[in-house]
């Protein structure tokens, strides 16, 4: 009962924190090429984020179950082939039903197979953790990517075309440059700045220097507490609260098993009293 409650409490909180506070796009600059290049309408952002989350989930499941036994260079090839395999039916379906949309996405949808989000997340977390944690990580990373893509796509669609999901929202003139990659980078930069301010104000215990630029000066890599710069990848799994929750749930199991003999003794005494 206790364990179920803890899981019920932590899962939504973990998903929120994992997607927003540890956003892979805004704090680690992972997977920005698709967002910047084609996410200039809300519809495309939705399709891309759902596809990427699905591919990431399957990849992390396979990585944490089977692929962890291979060496790293073989795993990377497997991710690429597995993602391609998953993308073929998705693209066939999209081509059939949304052929215009598919054409406007061009080559970027097939390139989700080599998106850095998949490789980095699988290599850093899925091969080192069990299945449940890998699924959480995939869902939180996918949600984080999706939220960013939707925000950027929505802003760009309103700024460039004055529409949202195809329906006209404003009659003001559109700035067609926002549909180009430089417009995407501008919106991404300002979203990242807003995200940084928000996290600093409302989640002040989280590390804010998530992308240290010190290494650009060619100095030896410095270890910072709480953040491993050599890997440099934050995720909900590196949140101390999550790891503590896991330890907590193990502790409650232990407590329950310890309490049990005491309870039976109490019952025996009570029974004895009743009798």
């Amino acid at each position: 009962m206790d364990k179920k409650e803890k899981v019920g409490l932590t899962l939504p909180r973990m998903l929120f924190k994992g997607s927003f506070v540890y956003s892979p796009v805004l704090t680690q600059s992972i997977g920005i090429c698709t967002i910047v290049a084609i996410c200039f309408t809300l519809k495309i952002s939705l399709i891309v984020s759902i596809t990427l989350t699905f591919i990431l989930l399957i990849n992390e499941i396979m990585a944490s179950l089977i692929l962890k036994k291979l060496s790293r260079w073989m795993r990377i090839i497997c991710y690429m082939l597995l993602s391609t395999l998953l993308l073929i039916p998705i693209m066939l379906i999209l081509d059939k039903n949304y052929s215009q949309l598919n054409a406007s996405m061009g080559i970027y949808l097939p390139l989700l197979a080599v998106n850095s989000l998949i490789v980095i997340r699988c290599e850093k977390y899925a091969v080192k953790n069990n299945l449940k944690l890998s699924v959480f990580d995939a869902l939180s990373a996918g949600l984080g990517y999706g939220v960013t893509a939707i925000i950027v796509g929505g802003i760009r669609e309103i700024a460039a075309f004055g529409t949202l999901l195809g329906k006209t929202v404003t009659e003001l003139p559109g700035y067609s440059g926002m549909a180009l990659p430089f417009g995407g980078l501008i919106v991404l930069g300002f979203t990242a700045a807003f995200h940084k301010w928000f996290v600093k104000k409302y989640f002040s215990d989280q590390p804010t220097n998530t992308f240290p630029l010190r290494t650009a000066f060619e100095t030896p890599l410095i270890r910072e507490e709480g953040l491993n710069i050599t890997t440099g990848t934050l995720s909900i799994l590196s949140d101390p609260a999550v790891t503590n929750e896991e330890a907590l749930s193990e502790k409650t199991e232990k407590d329950a098993s310890e309490k049990a003999p005491v309870k039976t003794e109490e019952n025996a005494e009570k029974d004895g009293d009743n009798q």
């Binding site: 003139p173 700035y175 067609s176 440059g177 926002m178 180009l180 430089f182 501008i186 930069g189 700045a193």
Partner: protein
């Protein structure tokens, strides 16, 4: 004990120098504005007013949001807005001027901490943004006859003129008789609202030479390089002189070369590097005119040189460091060899 400058004193000198530089820019742009009122009527006032108001509001709001000191006092917002509005055609709608100056302030200046740290010249970035977003509105100029109080683009009575830039891209040349020369010098040609007045530019060059000698060398290098490129690779067949005069009086080349290129935050200050910067910008500007998508290359060439300069600086420093290390190692080896021998 040496007197250490306090932080506030340093800030004052920095802001003061930025203020004086922007004041010089505004003084240089005022005669262009006056000539433009004389030739194109109220358009420059309309464009400049919307641009300046947009820039000032944007900077004020940004400073309030980021809770930093009010930086309107260094006049960089005003100078940027004036520069962008002078490069637009007289038939341009007002919201475009405002959008360009707001972009220049909010994207090219504020995220990097103000005018003295901006890695790209804000006015060039704002104009480039407008070129990409509204290519028709920015490169369609009214004809000379209807220039005074001309209609806006899109209106029924708008008459399009053929600018020198357009003629050069088709290879059509203009006959350089005395009448044409007078109109080119006086500015009665088809072009942006504030950049066609060659006589005024000569005055601006003299002012720059007198007041800011080092900046003048950057501008001179840029303009001379463009002249040489126009002489060596003319786009029109009627002689070198026609090519040079047409290239120099077409579009925003002289304006960008005299007013935008020597921004103290991006252009090098010392003698050989500033001249090389000007030469590089000139070559890129002319190449963009020959091969680029837009009739204008000056603002984009400034942006490209702003991107290239830090790379060259960093790698020059690295190479210098490596050479120093090698020299030190050599010298220490020699010294040891000397000791052994002695």
């Amino acid at each position: 004990m040496a007197k250490r400058k306090t932080k506030s004193e340093n800030l004052i000198t920095n802001t003061d120098s930025v203020f004086r530089y922007n004041l010089d820019l505004i003084i240089m742009m005022l005669p262009l504005m006056l000539m433009s009122i004389y030739l194109s009527g109220y358009h420059i006032i309309r464009l400049m007013l919307t641009a300046v108001i947009g820039a000032v509001i944007a900077e004020f709001t940004a400073n309030k949001i980021s809770k930093s000191d009010n930086s309107l006092g260094d006049l960089s917002a005003v100078a940027t807005a004036m520069a962008i509005s002078l490069m637009l055609p007289a038939s341009c709608p007002s919201y475009i001027a405002a959008a360009g100056s707001v972009f220049a302030i909010i994207v090219a200046k504020i995220p990097f901490g103000g005018a003295k740290n901006a890695p790209f010249v804000p006015a060039a970035a704002g104009f480039a943004f407008l070129c990409v977003c509204f290519p028709t509105e920015v490169f369609t100029y009214p004809s000379v006859e209807t220039a005074f109080n001309s209609a806006l683009i899109g209106a029924e009575d708008f008459v399009k003129g053929t600018s020198f830039g357009e003629m050069l891209s088709y290879g059509k040349s203009v006959e350089l008789n005395s009448l044409e020369a007078v109109s080119i010098l006086g500015g009665k040609t088809v072009g942006p609202v504030g950049t066609t007045f060659m006589l005024v530019f000569i005055g601006i060059a003299v002012y720059l030479f007198a007041k800011r000698r080092k900046k003048f060398y950057v501008s001179l290098a840029f303009i001379l390089t463009c002249t040489v490129m126009a002489m060596l690779f003319p786009r029109v067949n009627s002689g070198v002189a026609t090519s040079v005069i047409m290239e120099l009086s077409a579009g925003t080349l002289l304006f960008a070369g005299l007013i935008l290129i020597h921004d103290p935050a991006t252009a090098p200050n010392r003698a050989p590097y500033s001249v090389l910067y000007g030469i590089g910008a000139g070559i890129i500007c002319m190449l963009l005119r020959y091969f680029g998508k837009y009739p204008e290359g000056a603002c984009f060439s400034i942006l490209i040189m702003n991107a290239i300069t830090p790379v060259i600086k960093d790698y020059a420093k690295m190479i210098e460091k490596e050479l120093k290390k090698k020299n030190k190692a050599k010298n220490s080896l020699k010294a040891e060899g000397g000791k052994d021998n002695g």
